[in-house]
């Protein structure tokens, strides 16, 4: 971006960048009036999972800490909401801040021991937490309804809106999800985000530069748990039913898989990952009724083959590859640095946009669509 052509083209680029965003927004608002209720419901679920994945992304993608226990925070959010609705009749809106704050604190509590644990060990501790939660929920029967779960009222559209239930739910979730995704973006642009990425890329150097390691790592865990809790809260609003076995450790693994498939450390990764988690199981069944699992497993593997850095990184990779094959005079200067920065990372050129002290305000994507990958331990180059 530091050559003359680029700065001349900046205006046009900005417009180009804005266009798809606007298009996306229009499509998002128009969708529930166009699609059948069942498809609107699917889109609602995609948005809901995207919130959870965005939270996980903060931790795994930007913080470099692996959590296999986010299903537990998701469950905590869902259950706190269900219990409030069921026992105390609080009304739906009151449950959101409680679920968010509760999970933030829970995450803070988890973030402290997590400080001492790295990579694998953290993943396994969080995984055993996710395994432990369902039996605990069953044990706390007087509050949680035990293994039968709790059925609560779904959110109903107010009369003035003139919307059907699925449309109203969609807009509510869309609003919360947009707010959450914006918050995630802004968080990453703030000191916190820069500190996180600095820590991920080189812990030692970051500390020397004055980043308060423990504070930021703990906070990352807390924020991330909060997002999962909010997603859980939305889940209860939409599904209207929680049971301990809905939140088995499979959910945690699915969330992590969805994030990696969608693309780590990318803004659109969580959305793409959520769509994958939501739609691909049904597609698998359409392809093979006898064993949908066979197809689903193969699809995960295939996506990782084709896009090792996730779906969000795929277009960049494809264009990069095309760019290398067909040398174009204008394209080359732009693309080569990125193509080169892709898999190797030894002297990690983290000149990724938001990393500079003063991020360009018009930057729509805070991070690189070509993620550098979570725990920066594999530093080899094929």
């Amino acid at each position: 971006m530091n050559n003359v052509t680029a700065s001349l083209a900046a205006d046009r680029t900005r417009q180009l960048r804005a266009a798809p965003t606007v298009l996306l927004a229009v499509a998002a608002v128009a969708a529930p009036f166009y699609f059948a209720p069942f498809q609107v419901f699917q889109l609602t679920m995609v948005l809901l999972y995207a919130v959870a994945l965005a939270g996980l992304n903060l931790l795994v993608g930007f913080g470099g800490q692996i959590s296999l226990g986010h299903g537990a925070f998701f469950a905590a959010g869902a259950y706190s909401t269900a219990v409030m609705l069921d026992r105390y009749d609080t009304g739906h809106l009151a449950t959101l801040p409680v679920a968010a704050a509760g999970c933030f604190l829970l995450g803070l509590g988890f973030g402290v021991p997590a400080l001492r644990l790295r990579g694998l060990y953290l993943a396994l501790v969080t995984l055993s937490f996710a395994v432990f939660l369902p039996p605990l929920l069953k044990r706390l029967e007087p509050v949680t309804g035990g293994s039968m779960g709790l059925t609560v009222d779904k959110m109903q559209p107010p009369a003035w809106s003139g919307l059907a239930e699925d449309q109203w739910m969609y807009f509510v979730v869309l609003a919360v999800a947009s707010a959450a995704l914006l918050l995630a973006r802004n968080l990453l642009r703030s000191r916190v985000g820069r500190a996180l990425r600095a820590v991920r890329d080189n812990e030692g150097a970051a500390e020397v530069m004055g980043v308060r390691l423990s504070l930021h790592k703990t906070l990352a865990f807390a924020w991330s748990a909060m997002f999962a809790g909010v997603a859980g809260c939305l889940y209860t609003w939409v599904i209207g039913f929680v049971s301990p076995d809905s939140f088995s450790f499979v959910l945690s693994i699915t969330l992590l898989a969805g994030l990696v498939v969608g693309g780590l450390a990318s803004l659109y990764g969580p959305l793409l990952g959520a769509a994958f988690v939501m739609y691909v199981p049904s597609v698998s069944q359409d392809l093979s009724e006898a064993a949908p699992g066979v197809v689903f497993g193969l699809l995960i593997i295939t996506v990782m083959f084709v896009a090792p850095t996730g779906l969000a990184g795929l277009p960049g990779r494809v264009l990069g590859a095309v760019g290398r094959r067909l040398p174009r005079t204008t394209a080359i200067p732009d693309r080569t640095p990125e193509a080169a920065s892709a898999p190797d990372a030894e002297p990690r050129p983290t000149a990724a946009p938001g990393f500079s002290p003063t991020p360009a305000p018009a930057d729509p994507a805070v991070a690189d669509a070509e993620p550098v990958g979570a725990p920066p331990r594999t530093t080899e180059k094929e």
């Binding site: 795994v60 060990y121 432990f132």
Partner: protein, 296 residues
């Protein structure tokens, strides 16, 4: 039955489950030593190997012939999996490889269901029925048998890691594949060997536990979590650690389930969590692991 006998009986029960966890933990440690990743599909590959053995026995082959054939098939299968499924993502971020093993997990589990259905299969018990009675404490031959085989496998792995050139090569590859390649090690072959060996150890584990847990596609799913706990406790690098970890988790879980009423059988799954957390807070590298030395 006196209280002491009862306690000892519970300890023996714990040893029985601990041996099961340890057997799979060994395979996890092996693959981690070779390739530096956590293989989520390890349990499922073991289950698949067990089905191979079952199929051979069901088609009339004697068990003691079917066993070596199964181990050979598993070794080849493991290498094949590395070549076909893992090689294409070598060099991608570590998490990508881990997620590929998650995909493999789902795939293998469903495949076994498709081929052999989800009906429970009877698997021949290699050890004699019954057990021995020592001062009122009953130990099944199968428990002793599993413990014995696990100890042998542990010993072999220890020798492999510490006293062969393969062990050294392997450590070099897991530590830094790029440098290993530069110094003339054929990284691909070493990784294939790692997957093959891990699949073989997994097959041993599957064959050992199938008569106790009963063979069906989800047989190893529950074991995997405990095996992770065992391996983590042992430091994820050391075969001795994996076995000690497995036995410790098994005994601790059984005793708390039996004697601590607040926990009871339903929450005993929380015991490994507590143990891991406690151990890691004191010793982040696990009981037998070595602390990673980092160059900042």
């Amino acid at each position: 039955m006196s209280a002491v006998t009862e306690l000892l009986q519970q300890v023996v029960e714990g040893l029985g489950s601990g041996a099961v966890y340890a057997s799979l933990a060994l395979a996890l440690v092996l693959i981690h030593r070779f390739t530096g990743i956590v293989n989520f599909a390890q349990g499922e590959l073991a289950m698949l190997s067990t089905y191979v053995a079952w199929q051979l026995v069901a088609s009339g082959m004697p068990f003691w012939l079917a066993l070596p054939v199964t181990l050979a098939v598993s070794f080849a299968g493991g290498m094949l999996v590395e070549r076909i499924v893992i090689r294409p993502v070598q060099g991608a971020p570590e998490l990508t490889v881990v997620i590929v093993t998650v995909g493999l997990f789902i795939f293998v589990n469903a495949l076994a269901g498709l081929i052999w259905s989800f009906t429970v299969k009877d698997f021949p018990q290699p050890f004699p029925d019954g057990g021995i009675d020592l001062a009122g404490v009953r130990t099944d031959w199968s428990t002793l048998g599993i413990l014995g085989v696990v100890a042998v496998v542990m010993g072999l792995l220890y020798l492999l890691f510490q006293h062969t050139s393969v062990g050294l090569t392997m450590r070099a590859v897991a530590c830094n594949p790029a440098s290993a390649r530069l110094s003339g090690i054929r990284v691909g072959r070493v990784l294939m060997l790692g997957w093959g060996l891990a699949a073989t150890v997994g097959a041993v584990s599957g064959v050992l536990v199938a008569p106790v847990l009963f063979l069906e596609p989800n047989m190893m799913g529950g074991v995997l979590i405990y095996a992770f706990a065992a391996a983590t406790l042992g430091g994820f690098d050391s075969p001795v650690g994996a076995v000690v970890g497995g036995v410790f988790v098994g005994v601790a879980e059984t005793l708390t389930g039996a004697y601590v009423d607040v926990i009871g059988a339903d929450l005993k799954v929380g015991v490994p969590l507590m143990i891991i957390l406690a151990v890691l807070l004191v010793r982040p590298q696990g009981l037998f692991g070595r602390a990673a030395v980092e160059r900042a």
